[in-house]
Amino acid sequence: MTSKDVGRQDEQRFWMTMAPPPALSGLGSLTGNQGIALPGIGVAPARILQLGAIDLSGRALSTPRADVLISISETAGRFGSQNGSTVVPRTQSAGGQMAPQLQIAVARNPLNAQPEVQVDPAPPPDLSASAAPYLSLAKAMVEERNLLTARVLVRLALAEGHPDPESIRLSRIIGLPSVVISRAVDADRSSEYQWLSQFGRQHKGQWVAVVESELVAEAATLKGLLTLIKGSTGFAGSRRPFIHHFE
């Protein structure tokens, strides 16, 4: 497998500033709970100080403080390590064929002005702040409103082999939504929309409940409104009141 196999549209890239700055030669791979794994060297423990996303045009590469650049891409392939990159399985289809994989590549930032510093293996740095780099990155991406990148990182965290409850929980929250046909029924609410337009100005700041062209309840709070209409039935067309909050 070569980088030619990877579609750019599926690629996610990040930059990270780490302490201590890892000495990188060629490509390495990011491990989920220890730091940077370097071919022939082993794992360089490191703590994430700063991170950010890089757009595909590479504009964010202008940040000179980034120690390493991480490329994560989806591609077809088998689990293993190739060309300095780590390939992590995502899912296995029911037919036993491997689904697309996540390929991770780590490289030194060519714009980093900092001199290389060899990693001192002892004493080990405090990794408590980044016990699970993928999960930490994912949470940071959520806070940066980059849910698509966060999803990739959570999948990496789960692919580590020991998915922790926090990764599973975050995966559920930010994962692609499930969709099901609902048995909920409703009717054309054009009459209610018309009522809002016609009488809304008289109810500024209020919650209202409307059925067809009739106001059935009004309150200053939603809680108060729901108390008023709780248990009410027999509305026209058996429809539930349509509610609206006028700013």
């Binding site: 806070e143 940066e144 409103r145 939504p177 909920a184 929309y193 809680k223 349509f242």
Partner: protein
Amino acid sequence: MLTLRGEPFAGGKSRFSDELPVNPEVTAKVYVRIQAGTLLEPFLAQLDTGAAYSVLEPEIVEAIGASSDPGSPARLSVKGLEFDGRLIKIPITLLADEGVALSVDATVFVAANLPPGKNFLGYTGFLEAIRFAVDPQKNNFYFGPSS
């Protein structure tokens, strides 16, 4: 309901409102009718493919009992103001005038200090999971599960 090259595209249709009274927007918007969580009463939410997340106003989140859900911390910018809140999962149902309704296990941004009257259906965590089409001349909104 709607087909694309002979295949089903959307199984539900509802009329949308293109304006809200009292505090009208300069331009028309698409407000579709939804149910959220255990709240049976339908209400309007603005379809917004540019919104970072779907948003429900605090009183609705409280009414469906999701106020205490710790979720995942997140931040949202609304008209230049930053709001610290969290992302949580809330089932949101697109209601149909014709055809079938669709329930989405949506990722929703909630914050206690969000301004009232702001409900949005954003792309990530909601619209990305469905097919939809808008007929602006007839104010019809078509929707169905993404295959």
